[in-house]
């Protein structure tokens, strides 16, 4: 999956249907490398559904069908010869609620590496991943303790560390701070700025200030009159929040909508 252009991943008329219901329609997005791209929009507009399409998590919903293309380089991730397991190794995911494994902190990171056949020094990988997730100093003395003993914010950073450990190209974040307090949220946002030096980040957020503060690009989603979600505007975050070209985006980011 060689990739020479500036874009980490592209969608090409990507549509997602549940049975006969079209949840997301004709999304065309080019996600730039080593940038943070935020997806915003009102509840139920298909933000999370779209995000989950990027690493084929929707495959687990039996009625879900995806059409169009999702291009990592020249490779369509939805073509028949692509194994979704391979996709998920290349495109990691951090979920809305922190969901560490009910295992030790160490094992939380080592497990993903091990099942993917990691051959290097596991202790080093664990330390390096925890450092990258700005968690090492807090947990270095209790690596064998249960991850459940950590606070919510620490658990979420552990989940990020777990994702980094398998060295994906892209990290998807589904409202990663929505279950956290403002201080933990800030730490996650700072962490994202660090991570974008090495990774491409796609984040779904409800929090408009967060999108404005933390992201480089913003995709605005909205449902049409058939209740199908779509990207109505995709641009530089500054532009979206200062002079959006779509009236609906303006209404939404200024809080006049909904």
């Amino acid at each position: 999956m060689e990739n020479n252009n500036n874009y980490a991943i592209e969608t090409n008329n990507l549509s997602i249907r549940y049975g006969n219901f079209t949840a997301v329609k004709d999304v065309n997005m080019k996600v730039e490398r080593q940038k943070i791209t935020a997806i915003i929009g009102p509840s139920g507009c298909g933000k999370s559904t779209l995000l989950r399409a990027f690493n084929r998590m929707n495959d687990f919903v039996p009625s879900c069908r995806v059409t169009g293309k999702l291009l990592l380089g020249r490779q369509n991730l939805y073509s028949k010869d692509i194994d979704p397991v391979e996709v998920r190794r290349k495109i990691g995911m951090v979920f809305q609620k922190p969901n560490p494994f009910p295992k030790s902190i160490y094992e939380n990171i080592a497990w993903g590496a091990r099942i993917n056949g990691f051959k290097g020094n596991m202790n080093e990988l664990v330390e390096q991943s925890l450092r990258s997730a700005a968690l090492w100093d807090e947990v270095k003395d209790k690596l064998q303790q249960s991850a459940y003993a950590l606070s919510g914010g620490q658990q979420q950073r552990l989940c990020i560390a777990r994702t980094i450990a398998i060295q994906p190209e892209i990290i998807l974040m589904d409202e990663p701070a929505s279950a956290l307090d403002p201080i933990s949220t800030l730490r996650i946002e700072e962490l994202m700025q660090e991570l974008k030096k090495n990774y491409t980040i796609l984040i779904v957020t409800h929090n408009m200030q967060q999108a404005a503060r933390a992201s480089d690009y913003t995709a605005m989603m909205m449902i049409d009159d058939q209740r199908a979600g779509g990207v109505i505007e995709f641009a530089d975050t500054k532009k979206i929040f200062t002079r959006p070209s779509d009236k609906r985006t303006e209404d939404y980011v200024t809080g006049r909508f909904g």
Partner: protein, 412 residues
Amino acid sequence: MSNAQIPYPEGEVFNLALRARYRSATIWQSLFLGALLVAIIALTALIYNVIDGAFGYIAYEYKNDPAEFTSTPINELKKEELLDIFKKNLSSGAYNKLEKEKPMDSRTQSELLELFLERLVRIDTKGTWSMTDSLLNGAEIRAEVTGKYPDAILEFRSWLTPQFLVTPMSSRAEFAGVRTAVLGSLWLVGIAILFALPVGTGAAIYLQEYAQRNWFTKVIQTNINNLAGVPSIVYGMLGLALFVRVLEPLTSGAIFGMTDSNGRTILAAGLTMGILVLPLIIINAQEAIKAVPDSLRQAAFGVGATRWQTVWHHVLPNALPGILTGSILALSRALGETAPLIVVGASTFISVDPNGPFSKFTALPIQIYQWTTRAQSEFHAIAAGAIIVLLALLLTLNASAILLRNRFQRRW
């Protein structure tokens, strides 16, 4: 805002309505309390009934006076003296037979004493009385016994003794024990769980984690739920047809070189029990697997795990305490089942310990059933004792299930 605009009662009207609400609440509350009392009374009656039978007076005579065999009082007889008595008074054929069952030298004093009373003195039981009867009408019982059987000895006996647990079956209630039946029951339950736990858990994993949700799996699911309610005698018929008859070469051990057995073995009965509890174990394992939160599966998939890695490393370990708890409860159902064992062919009289899956067997409920159908009252007394043993086993199993659940309870 005037009162007319509020469509709710106020003041005296409200208070009246409130009192009426409390009244109906009180009525319901006392009905529920009544229901609870009925349950408690039923349980108490059950336990009382069993205990009542297991203790009480017994009147017996010695057919032969112990003084004919020895001058030492019975309670002071030593092992050597007893061995001596046997050698003198038993025919060599009878002695050799006993020696074959268990070498006489290796028997304990109490075992030998029992043998002495059974074979030589030959105890003859004249009557037994329940605990309540013995405690309340002691004087009348004594008068009755001395009137009818002047030579009889009357004593208060607990039919449930340590000896009762370790003694094999005997044709005389006074010397019978539940050892054979307890061992048989343990073998059955062991084979049942060895068969049903892996098969049931496997089926549950497939249904929960792999099977597509279509009409076919719905039909299967409904059938499993219904099978859990099928009367156990039907499973007995299945066991008879399948394990005893069709699979006889396997269940009799013929293909392993056993020759002296037919299909009515512990293995056949254990597998029948396994089939009987299989739906329970599947349903319960499904519930335990369902209780593992989806976020955990997603976490595993999110780091590039396959379905199997997710199931094996995360779903199964976290569902295991629930699966085991349910399996233990299913086993306690198997432990009390009688009907399928009768159909499959449990032996009603067997005094040899089961020594492998191809042995003939009996089980506690069978033994209890068989003893209660006997006419002599002393058999009813040992049946009561055996019921207490069975209840104790069931309680132990259930308690271990609760312990297991508390020990491994997960917080998500």
